[in-house]
């Protein structure tokens, strides 16, 4: 009797008691579904994190100088020199000065983010211009009151014709020299396209305290970002002689930490969901034991007609594995369906675009585990069936 025929027989028996089989499968179905959705949710969260961090840049280090009173500090030129001295690891530098203030176009007030930056900033960020020019060295050195605006500002307040126009930042007139390419698919107020860049010298002189205290540094090689961070920290320590006067933060490391935390939480949740698989397996064992009792006579007939113990054992194990395997399949289907539903629900409730994406590995594991559970928990009842004495089994009613 071939495996295929045994499998056919198993399907026949399963079909003969559909409702019971479905109820038996329920534990497996719920377990597999839960594992898939939870792992999918974890994937979605990790992807979301990665995307948000990617827009911040994973090849970037952020340096914040808090200084040590006024006695020691580091000038912008010294920072540029520091980066140049470590050119093998560090690639670019731009001071960043964030400006708090009121921006007005005629009488309208904008809520755009305003940042003072160096001439390399747009390149370092990978931002491209749609119109006009970017911030140039001369703008920085001469503290020109010029700016580059995001696509949202250009569209909303200047009807896409912003270059050459002016706006006011804290009452001071600033002329627009360039417009950035649109970054997001849906531009919105407060989004990454609602922005305004000034030369950092201008920004610090006119709109904040005059000090430049934060920098963005890009690294030459993303894989050696940790080395780059160490070099930068060592150089700053040499200047300040104290590690409290500055902080160097690494987006990639933060992302990694975040991801491993999400991963851990998801693993624990998936394991908890996996308990349902165990319960499902016990359910299968239970129903297989009942089935063996019910079919004692059938087993007796089969043995009288020449079925070896191995054949009977195989028949019941395959039946259990088919039951749990089918449960696994239903679970996978349901898992995918619920993942879709969850994506829609999360998007609507939290307005964050987390896509619950079940991973193939989770699906493969879930189906593997569910079949293994069938084999494992089916074995005991199957052995009981195989070892039945044919004489007693034939007499059984």
């Amino acid at each position: 009797m071939s495996i295929l025929e045994t499998f056919g027989l198993a399907l026949q028996n399963i079909w003969a008691s559909k409702v019971r089989t479905l109820l038996t499968m329920l534990g497996i179905i719920i377990g597999v579904t839960a594992v898939i959705v939870i792992v999918g949710l974890g994937n979605g969260m990790q992807n979301y994190m990665r995307d948000s961090f990617a827009s911040l840049g994973t090849n970037q280090l952020t340096v914040m100088i808090s200084g040590r009173g006024s006695s020691r500090s580091i000038s912008v030129d010294e920072m540029y020199q520091l980066v140049e001295d470590n050119a093998s690891l560090l690639d670019g530098l731009s001071p960043t000065v964030s400006v708090m203030g009121q921006i007005k176009v005629d009488t309208e007030t904008l809520s755009s983010s305003v940042t003072g930056v160096g001439e390399d900033y747009l390149d370092m960020k990978g931002l491209t211009l749609a119109q006009g020019r970017g911030i140039q060295y001369a703008d920085v050195s001469e503290r020109r009151t010029v700016c580059v605006v995001g696509a949202y500002v250009a569209r909303e307040y200047f009807q896409n014709n912003a270059v050459g126009q002016t706006l006011r930042v804290n009452g001071r007139k600033v002329s627009i020299v360039g417009v950035l390419e649109q970054q997001e698919d849906d531009m919105d107020e407060g989004g990454s396209d609602d922005c305004l860049y000034l030369p950092y010298s201008t920004a610090s002189r006119f709109f904040s305290g005059g000090q430049v205290s934060s920098y963005m540094v890009t690294v030459a090689d993303e894989d050696r970002i940790n080395d780059a961070q160490t070099v930068l920290e060592d150089a700053l320590y040499a200047v300040f002689g104290d590690s409290d006067s500055y902080t160097v933060s690494n987006m990639a490391a933060a992302l990694e930490t975040m991801n491993s935390m999400i991963g851990m939480v998801i693993t624990i949740l998936a394991l908890i969901a996996g308990i349902s698989l165990l319960v499902g397996g016990i359910g299968i064992m239970n129903i297989m034991l009942v089935s063996v009792s019910e079919r004692t006579r059938e087993i007796g007939i089969r043995k009288a007609l020449g079925a070896r113990e191995g054949v009977i054992l195989r028949q019941f194990v395959i039946e259990a594995a088919t039951t749990s395997g089918l449960g696994g399949l239903f679970g996978i289907a349901l898992g995918y369906l619920l993942s879709r539903v969850a994506t829609v629900v999360i998007t609507n409730l939290t307005e964050t675009a987390i896509t619950v994406s079940p991973s193939l590995a989770a699906v493969a594991m879930a189906s593997g585990i569910s079949i293994a559970i069938g084999v494992l928990f089916g074995f005991l009842p199957a052995r009981k069936a195989a070892r039945l004495n044919p004489i007693d089994a034939l007499r059984y009613d």
Partner: protein, 245 residues
């Protein structure tokens, strides 16, 4: 003639709690190939034990059972299953057909366990069904057939594997006398075609249809011979006294 079944001092003991029950008490008998033998006895006479041993469903506690020259008592469960499959065709009182499968599938079961390929299996099963006149009912479930038809299906199942011995355990026990006679004459046909048939029954009138009767009482053979001799239907009492039944 060729000896197919040989019992040499076969004993079978069962433990019932504290007591040991002797179900077969030093039985000696031989059955030749091509014979039609009835093993007769009241309940408790040991005929079921004999049938279980002949059918390789059980092994003797003592003594030797040679089936076609092979000592069955020393074989593993796996070998016994193979012998049941190849050498024996069972016909049971309760038909014992698999209820969820069609008649054809039922007849195929022994062939399936023998590893006969699907096509040939189907062909041989249909042949066997034709032989018992059920070829047109091959797709029916057992429950859709009458008792007589079910028993004919089980005869077909016993024949399909072309076994050396057809072992019929009270084949007419669940049937009315008319269908019982039909089934019996079918067994006689099976015998005439050259098969060895062993019939186990408590009913003398049925046993008389065989060529030879082996009568058991209390686990012992008390008569072995012509079914039409007066002693064949005589009830023996322990101690050797004889009385007409």
């Amino acid at each position: 003639m060729e000896t197919l079944i040989e019992f040499r001092q076969v004993c079978k003991y069962y433990r019932m709690g504290e007591e040991t029950v002797v179900a077969a008490d030093h039985i000696d008998m031989t059955i030749q190939r091509g014979e039609f033998v009835a093993i007769v006895g009241q309940s408790g006479s040991g005929k079921s034990t004999c049938m279980n041993i002949i059918g390789c469903l059980d092994v003797p506690s003592e003594g030797v059972y040679l089936l076609d020259g092979q000592n069955v008592g020393q074989l593993s469960a796996k070998k016994l299953a193979a012998i049941r499959n190849k050498m024996l065709g069972f016909i049971f009182q309760q038909y014992n057909l698999l209820p969820k499968q069609s008649i054809l599938e039922n007849v195929e079961v022994p062939l399936m366990y023998a590893g006969v390929p699907r096509g040939e299996r189907r062909r041989r099963a249909m042949e066997a069904l034709e032989q018992v006149g059920l070829a047109d009912k091959y797709r029916h479930r057992p429950s859709q057939l009458s008792g007589g038809q079910q028993q004919r299906a089980s005869i077909a199942r016993a024949l399909a594997g072309r076994p050396a011995i057809i072992l019929a355990d009270e084949p007419t026990g669940a049937l009315d006398s008319h269908t019982g006679r039909e089934v019996l004459s079918m067994l006689q046909d099976v015998h005439r075609q050259g098969n060895t048939v062993v019939l186990i029954t408590h009913d003398n009138s049925i046993a008389c249809q065989a060529q030879r009767i082996i009568r058991l009482e209390d686990g012992r053979v008390v008569y072995d011979g012509d079914p039409h001799a007066p002693q064949a239907v005589v009830r023996h009492r322990p101690g050797g006294e004889e009385a007409a039944q």
